[in-house]
């Protein structure tokens, strides 16, 4: 099974590689770049100084990643005896709904900016839509995919906690929405989110393999990893394309759903600890600015703070990738407590 999915991953990688350059050309030709008309329109001095030179970089490259995932997963199901079940359907619905939401946000920031004069979806509206989508996915996870319990790692055999429907749906919804937003917030430096996602995915792949989770989960993960590798090639510094909200929200929610389906919900915040820290750094800064009228970081989220302190962008990204490996190892160990020798 592992060999099969590795091959799928490589094929997905090849497919995305072939399409990347034409896709990039297409994006540049359409002018799908954020509506900054030169550095002078960037009001924030930090962004003007450190990121102003990136004006013109297309965003929304996640659309190609999603396309690869759908096409390859779909092809696999068509060409093999794999039957589409609610597990697969839930994963696809997650990618589709969050992908569309992210795509809408990207379009408002780019092609539709002149009409709306607003930088993306308003936070309140985005959050409401995310909660609605998260609720739908959580419902499917509980009632259709049958994920009604959570494994709590405890030595020697762990604890299986059965969840009441309302409790489960609330937990799943908050996890999915939180993850989507955390990944979205993390997407600020070239290659940061994509690289960290790949690292977390590889650890999740090990968890899935060790726990022998049914193939649908591994398939989608394999295809996603394969599609992201060529994307990362063009996304690392200096990025030729950004993944945009299309990619970050859909991948963030996908990661949450994959961990839930892998019976490793408890390990998720540990494997993705860097994402959690980045998200909380933003919340913390918002809190102190509003209530204490004070900033404790030069700029939030925290990866920008390090950059503002003088770290090169590549240094920040590399160190955060390294930190992801450390937290991934920790999360892996936690996920396997009481379950694997």
């Amino acid at each position: 099974m592992l060999f099969k999915f590795l091959m799928i991953s490589i094929l997905s990688m090849a497919f995305t590689t072939v399409l990347m350059v034409p896709f990039l050309n297409f994006m540049y030709s359409l002018g799908i770049k954020r509506a900054w008309e030169g550095k002078k329109n960037i009001k924030n001095s930090f962004f003007r100084k450190f990121h102003g030179w990136k004006v013109g970089t297309p965003t929304g490259g996640g659309a190609l990643v999603l396309l690869s995932i759908f096409i390859f997963s779909g092809l696999y199901y068509i060409l093999t005896s794999f039957s589409i079940n609610w597990t697969t359907a839930t994963l696809f619905i997650t990618l589709l709904l969050f992908g569309l939401l992210g795509m809408y946000d990207d379009l408002i920031k780019t092609l539709l900016y002149k009409r709306t004069k607003f930088w993306g979806l308003r936070m309140k509206h985005k959050l409401i839509l995310q909660l609605v989508i998260g609720f739908v996915i959580s419902y499917l996870l509980y009632y259709k995919a049958g994920i009604t319990s959570v494994y709590l790692p405890w030595y020697p055999d762990g604890i299986r906690l059965m969840l009441a429907p309302s409790v489960a749906i609330i937990i799943y919804t908050l996890t999915i929405v939180g993850s989507a937003n955390a990944f979205n917030i993390t997407d600020g430096l070239d290659g940061l989110m994509t690289g960290m996602f790949l690292i977390s995915s590889l650890f999740l792949w090990i968890i899935i393999g060790t726990l022998k989770i049914p193939g649908d989960v591994e398939l989608v993960l394999a295809v996603t990893v394969g599609a992201l590798i060529p994307f990362l090639y063009f996304n690392i510094y200096p990025a030729r394309v950004w993944i945009g909200d299309t990619g970050s929200m859909s991948l963030g929610s996908l990661m949450a759903v994959l961990f839930i389906m892998s019976d490793s919900l408890f390990a998720f915040p540990f494997v993705a600890l860097v994402f959690v820290i980045i998200a909380f750094s933003s919340i913390f800064q918002m809190f102190t600015k509003k209530f204490l009228l004070k900033k404790y970081m030069k700029i939030a989220p925290i990866h920008f703070h390090f950059q503002a302190m003088g770290w090169d962008e590549t240094k920040v990204v590399m160190r955060f990738w390294l930190f992801s490996v450390v937290t991934g190892l920790t999360g892996l160990a936690i996920a396997l407590i009481g379950r694997a020798n």
């Binding site: 001095s45 600015k289 509003k290 209530f291 204490l292 009228l293 004070k294 900033k295």
Partner: protein, 249 residues
């Protein structure tokens, strides 16, 4: 008495000459917000609180007041809701005075309701008390009495006025009385006059036997009408004095 008058002028002057970051900042008019926004001054802060809040906000937004024009500083503070409303100005002036003279805050003396309920309310709702006291509380019969004769006017008296919202009302405070010039100077924070925010206004006394609204008010509203009509004695408005500030002060 003299110390009381000096304190009134001193406290009002602080609002009129706010210094933030070494430069003068005109204090905007901000309509008082709910006490639930307790981390902000919300239009009811003392001068010190307003100054600290302004300094924090300038720092938060990486702005140097000395590098901005006066209008830019004023607009920034107004947009960030840093300022004072009419009752906030009068309340805080009185509050500093009662602390200075009686070692107690004004909240110990001002009630919102009559009788026992008022006392319980004072005790239970003591948190951010200034946010709960409006102009009509200060000028109500519970806390003040009318000054019937203009000749009895003192620095520190209030002028009870009406506003566009009859339930809220408006209040000004007497800043200076110049008998030789027959002039009364008052201070208030308003947004419907030509000058917005805390400022001084002048009344020329033409007849000491008439109530204050019948004198010659220099200030006009934004529409150009005299604001004396807002202090009509026939409507029970006009001069009032806080009960705690008796003759012995």
């Amino acid at each position: 008495m003299k110390k009381f008058e000096e304190l009134v002028k001193q406290e009002i002057d602080k609002y009129l000459n706010l210094n933030v970051g070494g430069v003068y900042c005109k204090v905007p008019y901000i309509f008082g917000s709910s006490w639930m926004e307790f981390w902000r001054t919300g239009g009811k802060g003392s001068v010190e609180q307003i100054k600290v809040e302004a300094e924090k906000l300038f720092t938060l937004y990486d702005l140097v007041p000395a590098e901005m024009t006066e209008f830019e500083r004023y607009k920034f503070l107004r947009d960030k809701r840093v300022g004072i409303d009419c009752s906030g100005l009068v309340y805080n002036v009185y509050d500093q005075i009662t602390k200075e003279l009686f070692n107690k805050p004004l909240s110990s003396y001002v009630v919102r309701f009559a009788g026992l309920i008022g006392q319980i309310d004072k005790l239970v709702f003591s948190f951010k008390r200034s946010r709960r006291i409006a102009s009509y509380h200060l000028t109500s019969d519970l806390n003040s009495f009318p000054v019937e004769n203009l000749k009895d006017i003192r620095i520190g008296d209030m002028i009870k006025m009406k506003s566009s919202d009859p339930e809220i009302g408006h209040v000004a405070i007497i800043y200076n009385i110049d008998i030789s010039q027959d002039e009364i100077i008052y201070a208030h924070s308003s947004f419907k006059t030509k000058t917005v925010g805390p400022h001084l206004g002048k009344i020329r006394v033409t007849n000491y036997d008439l109530p204050i609204d019948k004198q010659d008010w220099e200030e006009v509203s934004a529409k150009g009408d005299s604001i004396s009509t807002n202090a009509s004695s026939e409507e029970g408005l006009g001069l009032r004095r806080l009960k705690i500030f008796t003759e012995t002060i």
